[in-house]
Structure formats: C-alpha cells, structure tokens
C-alpha cells in the first residue's frame, strides 16, 4: 500500500503541474487584451502600460513567467507558502482571499453533498425495491427532471418561488455562520437544494440500476437460501455491493465541487471560489485563475486518491501493489 500511495502522490503532483501548464498556455494563446492595458487605468499611455507590464511581471517571456510561477508556488513568496502571488486586479495577495472563499465553497459543497447522498441513495433504494410501481415511476420521473433541468433555471425558479412569492426564505448572498447561524442556514438552504438536485437525480438512477443488478447476483440467491430475512438480504448483502461504486463516484463529484460550483454560486451570489475565478477570467487576472486551478486540481486528485484507498477497504478483492 505504501508504494501505491507514493506513486499516486507523485501523480497528483504531476497532474497539478500539468494543469497549470495548460492554463498558462491557454492564457497566452487566447487573443489577449493585454492585461497590462486592462490594469493600467482608463487612459493609459505607452509608458504607463510598460510600467504596469513590468510590475505585473508580464515583460518576461512566457516560459520564464511559468517557471517563476512554479518556483513561487512550491517555495513560497513574500506572502507566505504556497506562493500564489498577488491579484492583477486588486494588487493584493491572493492567498487570504482564496482561503476565505474556499471556506464558503466548502460549506456549499458539503451541505449539498450530504443532501444529495441522502436523497439520491434513499430514492434509488426505494425505487429499486418497488420496481414498476408508482413509487418507482414517480422517483424516476423526478430523476429525469433533476438531470434535465439546468441549474441556473432551477436556482432562479427557486428564488422566485421561495423568496419573491412565498417570502419564506431570504434572498441571495452569504452570511457567515459565526455572525448569525440561523441566517447562515436560511441563506444556504436554496443553494444546497439546487446544487444537490442534479446529483441526487443522477445518483438515484445509478443506485437503482446497481441495486437491481445486484439483486440478480448468485450470492443474493445464496443469502435467501440460507433463510436470511429479506431485510438482511437487501441491506447487508445487496446494498453492500451496489453502493461501493457510488462511493467512487462521490469522491470525484465532491472533489470537483471543491474547486467551485460556478453556476450555483453565481445565481445565489455566494462569495466562493466559483465566482472568484469567473471574475478573474473575465478580467484576465492570471494569478487568480492559476491559484483557483491549483486548488481545484488538488481537490479532485486528492479526493480521487482518498476514494481509491477507501475502496481497498470496501472491496477486499482490490489489492494495491
């Protein structure tokens, strides 16, 4: 296992570096509005532009810029470790902002995750056990809706219904839990549900089909032949096998969300990584983009690793050299 972990961690590193490289390349290959112009104020003259360019470090050739970026990232810069540098837009260090926003995104992702797991798996099980009946059809209808409805539409509809019309929930925006727990919760309800719905629908379908398939396996027949109660057969035998792939998928889904749920955050005006990076892209704010990309990349690859290791404990047939 140790050898496997080392190998995987090396891959994590390599992948994150590659991601940043691609981001860099895209940034420099895209028809640019030269960021130095953008950040030089309203009526820049060539001298000012050149000054800005130098202060942003854009006067160096691209490969050098990239290597400098990597060096700062791994070694640290004047703002600390890891070295994310400063934002082109605000000229202030990225790291503290990144962490603040990461917390918001994390809260969003975690709440949604709990919700979609409970809903998705629950509905999937109920569906599978009542195959063909009303409960199943309704559940799958819901699943179809969840998978098809665009997140922004759901978000806007939810806001319109619960905030504008019914006035039972507050509107967009974020309230820190330390400031006002109940408001924090109220502000997060809609984003959690809206984000969770898509995943819940997807997971419900997956759990249903996995469970139905597992129920046809020979070892289920053996369990029944032993005289086990149907409850034991379903929960101890069937679910145990059919949920294992769900764990895998969850890892990837959650890991991806850690990098920012762009649409949900935008609709609900949450100051998370999603909105951070969208603004940066619009502004050509390369250091912010890179920082979020590193964060997101780490999120996905490390979650993926965690899940794979967990898998070895769930499925005794899996062995890592």
């Amino acid at each position: 296992m140790g050898r496997y972990l080392i190998r995987r961690l090396l891959w994590v590193l390599l992948l994150v570096v590659l991601i940043t490289l691609f981001t860099f390349i895209i940034f420099f290959v895209m028809p640019p509005t030269d960021p130095s112009i953008l950040f030089a104020g309203r009526a820049p003259n060539p001298r000012l532009i050149a000054q800005v360019k130098e202060s942003l470090g854009l006067d160096q050739p691209a490969p050098i810029q990239y290597l400098l970026f990597l060096k700062r990232l791994f070694v640290g810069d004047e703002y600390g470790w890891p070295g994310f540098g400063f934002s082109f837009l605000t000229r202030s260090p990225i790291k503290p902002v990144l962490l603040e926003r990461a917390v918001v995104t994390f809260q969003l992702a975690l709440g949604a995750a709990v919700l979609w797991l409970v809903l998705g798996v629950g509905i999937g099980i109920i569906s599978a056990l009542n195959r063909g009946k009303i409960a199943d059809r309704a559940a799958m209808g819901f699943a179809l809706l969840g998978v098809s409805a665009p997140v922004f539409w759901l978000g806007l509809m939810a806001l319109w219904i619960f905030w504008q019309q019914l006035e039972i929930l507050p509107g967009t925006g974020y309230v820190a839990i330390s400031d006002d727990p109940s408001q924090w919760f109220m502000h997060f309800i809609l984003p959690w549900f809206v984000l969770a719905l898509l995943f819940a629908a997807f997971y419900a379908r997956m759990v249903r089909s996995n469970l139905l398939e597992t129920l046809n396996e020979d070892y289920i027949r053996t369990a029944r032949a032993k005289g086990l109660s149907e409850r034991k057969v379903i929960f101890r035998h069937a679910l145990r096998s059919s949920l294992t792939p769900v764990v895998s998928l969850f890892g990837v889904d959650f890991g991806t969300l850690l990098g920012g749920a762009i649409i949900t955050e935008t609709v609900f005006n949450l100051p998370g990584l999603g909105t951070y990076v969208v603004r940066a892209v619009g502004n050509g704010d390369l250091p912010v983009i890179l920082a979020v990309v590193v964060f997101a990349g780490l999120g996905v690859t490390i979650m993926s690793l965690v899940i794979d290791v967990l898998y070895a404990f769930l499925d005794p047939r899996v062995k890592y050299a």
Binding site: R3, I6, R7, L10, A321
Partner: protein, 353 residues
Amino acid sequence: MTVSVRERERPAGSPGSTPLLRLEGVKKHFPITRGVIFQKKIGQVHAVDGIDLEVYPGETLGLVGETGCGKSTLARLIMKVYDATEGRLFFEGEEYTAYGRRKMRPLRREMQMIFQDPYASLNPRKTIGSIIADPFRIHHTVPKGDVKKNVQELMELVGLNPEHYNRYPHEFSGGQRQRVGVARALALRPKLIVCDEPVSALDVSIQAQIINLLEKLQREFGLTYIFIAHDLSVVKHVSNRVAVMYLGKIVEMATGPTLYRNPKHPYTGALLSAVPIADPDLASHKKRIVLEGDVPSPIDPPSGCRFHPRCPNAQFPRCREEEPVLRPHHPGQVAACHFPLEDRAVLDLEPTA
C-alpha cells in the same frame, strides 16, 4: 529432452513418417511484474514448460489436463496467437517459430481453430453467412462471386440449413453455433484443426452430434486434429493418441486403449479414477486414487517431479529432487515417472468388444 520419434508406435491413420506438426522444447512463460515507476519482473507463470510433440497427418491427438496444465496456452502457441518464450515449432518441416505476420499468412490457411464457447466465439453483430465467409475474404482464396455458394456448401457439410445464411448467432442454439464455428474453421480446407474444448459447453445429447460431425469431416477431408478437453471419456473416444499434461509438461502419452487400461503415471491414474463411469457395477470396481489438495499454481512449480506433493506413489528424496523424463512402456506409450503404476492399476477390467 526429446524421446526418439521412432520409438513411438505409428498411430492409426498416418500414412507417412513426416509429422505434420512438430514442437521441440517449447516453453511459454508469462512475466509477473511489480514496481513503482519501473516494472520489475518478480516471477513468471510457467504456463508451458518444455513440450516435445509430434502430430502425424490424419491422426487425432488428444490433449487432456486440468486447470493450469497449460493445454490452452499450448494450443495458442501452436496457432501462434502467442510467441513461444523458448523452443521451436515446425509445420510440415518448415520452422515457423520466428515468423512474423506476413510469413505466417500462408501457414494460417493450413491451421485453424475451433473454440470452446459457442456463445462468445461468434461476433453477434455479423450474420453467420458473413462469419463463415470471413476466411475467404481475408485470404482471397475464392472469387467474390463464389463466396456465397461456398459458404452454403460449408453450411450443408456441417448440418446447417443453407437458407439460414442471413441469420444472426443469437437465433441459433449452442450446438448449431458450434457448427458455425466448425464451418468457419473448415472454410480454407486446412490440414490441421486445433479444437479447444469444442463440446464442453454443450448439452450431452448435442455433444455426440458435434463429435460425430468432427469425425465425419476428418474422414472426408483427411484432417488432422489436436483435440483439447478436460473430459477424458470424450478425449479417449475421438483420439488416436492422448497426451496428459500437468503443470506445463506432458507427463504421459499413449494410444487411447493403452492409456485407459494401463496408465503408468500416477496423475493419469488419478484422473482416470476421478472420471465418473456411467455404469454402476463397473464403477464400483474402479480403484480409487484420490489426490490431496488442489491443482498447484504454475507460478512456482514444485522441484523435481512436479507432481510429487500430491502423488500417492511418491518416494523421497528421489521424486523431490530428480525430474523424471518420458520413458517408453507399452508400445506407443511414454510416461515420465520414477515409480510408475502397475498394469491395470485403475480399471481392472477386460474391455468389452
């Protein structure tokens, strides 16, 4: 170490003295690797570990053995699906051990294979007419206009209705699908057909049909068969000579009747003893040779005689230290054992006429 060819009895149905197929010291080892970045070889699977074999034109050579004995790997080595790790292979005197794809092409017309699983060996998206026509298309042996006619002729030969040309495999039963496999193998009129467990997946009453078909075709077209199976009764019935494999080596080879009346190798004896006989009285006269444990893994074969850990006859230290070579016994029989069985060790009975 080869046993002289001349010492073996000429099997029934072989006109000449040149073997159709000859294997010399053939081995196939599959590496097992592990490593962090670079893969290091830490062991090998000794699937086939030194086989010398001659197959004569017109005969059926049976190959029998259990899981891990290497018979399927050997079949694939002969067909050059795998390349041998060591050893040489000859077809009609021509060495094809190192042949690449291009040079193998003409040879491939002479050697064909029939597979075990009639459900998996036919492409479900192709009609059976197309499946049987494939060999013609690949080797261009028949002008395009004549393909259909040839295919239908083949279908009739194997007992299929030629009008089912355009049907798909799933519309046929297991036995019929196996007939398709036979037709496909026969298309290029090969000299040698390797049958890898051709009837194991079929119902009992259908097995007999396919066995009879294979025998009929052999007579009609002068085919040579290598017949691989784990069912000794079937192998004995179709074969002139039978080779028993254990852990990648041939431990005994003899003509059918000799093998079954007077097996010399204890493993052969155990196999014979284990085969259930559909005759209660005779079955009760069978001597039981029950082996301990399971078939060992070919990754780490035992020292000396590979069979020694399970052998009821083994005597130490010789069996553990010295690997036995194939020695002649009855006419046409060779066995590799230091302490071979007595005559009539298992089936102590006179064969009925």
